[in-house]
């Protein structure tokens, strides 16, 4: 493993977004991973529609909550083609699913993996390098007040409640950390990102990890 790696350095991660008062973190993290997976494959980096996932993922509850696993199942099983964000913009509330014709261009996934990497965060880092940014679910109760630095305490594992996207890691300092993209706007945390200590499953960051294949 390199000492430091961040998919942002490859220009394959879209800008931090803001879910506003919509409980759609699960959709933001999954869509972020699809955006990056396509960019890593050489396609232009573009914002895809989170609202499409919120409105159309029938096995979730839109802005009232959802599961990244259900969203990935839905994307994969239905071979849903995600459209561009500009074609189906974010409204921060539930809406009726807007269907597009089969000939409409979009971005579907070929598959995904979902594993518990607790006690195996080096393997998790390999998955990040190999497949792209990782969708993870964390306990983010203490993130309400986070301003910066490396989160090492005040977090439990086993109480996952918030979906985010890991874009990289940094092991150059004395406290290695994951680089985590959030969806609470760029004014939160470190330009919209959190740094979470690696190697101790802090916030349960390694408990529920998904990679997307395109």
């Amino acid at each position: 493993l390199p000492l430091r790696f961040d998919w942002r350095d490859k220009q394959v991660v879209t800008q931090v977004r803001n879910q506003q008062m919509c409980g759609g973190c699960w959709a933001f993290s999954v869509v972020g991973a699809v955006e990056s997976a396509y960019a890593i494959k050489g396609k232009p980096l573009e914002d895809l529609s989170v609202q499409q996932v919120i409105d159309c993922s029938y096995n979730n509850y839109g802005c009232n909550g959802g599961s990244t696993l259900n969203a990935l199942n839905w994307l994969n099983k239905m071979q849903v083609k995600l459209v561009k964000d500009s074609e189906y913009p974010f409204k921060a509330q539930n809406g009726l699913c807007h269907y597009f014709s089969g000939s409409h261009s979009g971005f579907s996934i070929k598959g995904y993996s979902a594993y518990d990497f607790s006690d195996q965060e080096d393997e998790m880092a390999k998955a990040l390098l190999t497949f792209g940014p990782l969708v993870v679910i964390v306990d983010a109760v203490s993130w309400q007040d986070y301003l910066g630095g490396i989160i090492q305490h005040h977090c439990s594992s086993g109480e996952a409640n918030h979906a985010v996207l890991i874009t990289g890691f940094d092991k150059t300092g004395s406290t290695p950390y994951w680089i985590v993209r959030n969806s609470w706007g760029s004014s939160w945390g470190v330009d919209g990102y959190a740094h979470v200590k690696m190697g101790s499953n802090v916030c349960g960051i390694a408990d529920s990890v998904s990679s997307i294949f395109v």
Partner: protein
């Protein structure tokens, strides 16, 4: 019912926001006091969520449903190809 839309007491009174803010300040003080000498440890303070009580914050923003994921086992996976 997790599907029920969250309906906080909205619009919130200035008194309620002020009370949440005061509670946030106390919480920041506590969180920042625990590991002051630790290297690079996180720091906590006022941000856009400081006017919310923790239960309100959780009800609005922490809406991801957990799932039980199978444990990763390196043995059953193909070796990961070289990555530049």
């Amino acid at each position: 019912d997790s599907r029920a839309p969250f309906t906080p007491t909205w619009p919130r009174s200035r008194e309620r926001e002020a009370a949440a803010f005061r509670e946030s300040l106390n919480r920041h003080r506590y969180l920042n006091s625990l590991f002051p000498s630790e290297n690079s440890t996180a720091f906590y303070g006022i941000n856009q969520f400081s006017y919310l009580f923790p239960e309100e914050f959780k009800a609005i923003y922490l809406r991801s449903k957990p799932s039980k994921f199978p444990r990763y086992s390196a043995e059953v996976h193909m070796s990961i190809p070289n990555v530049s």
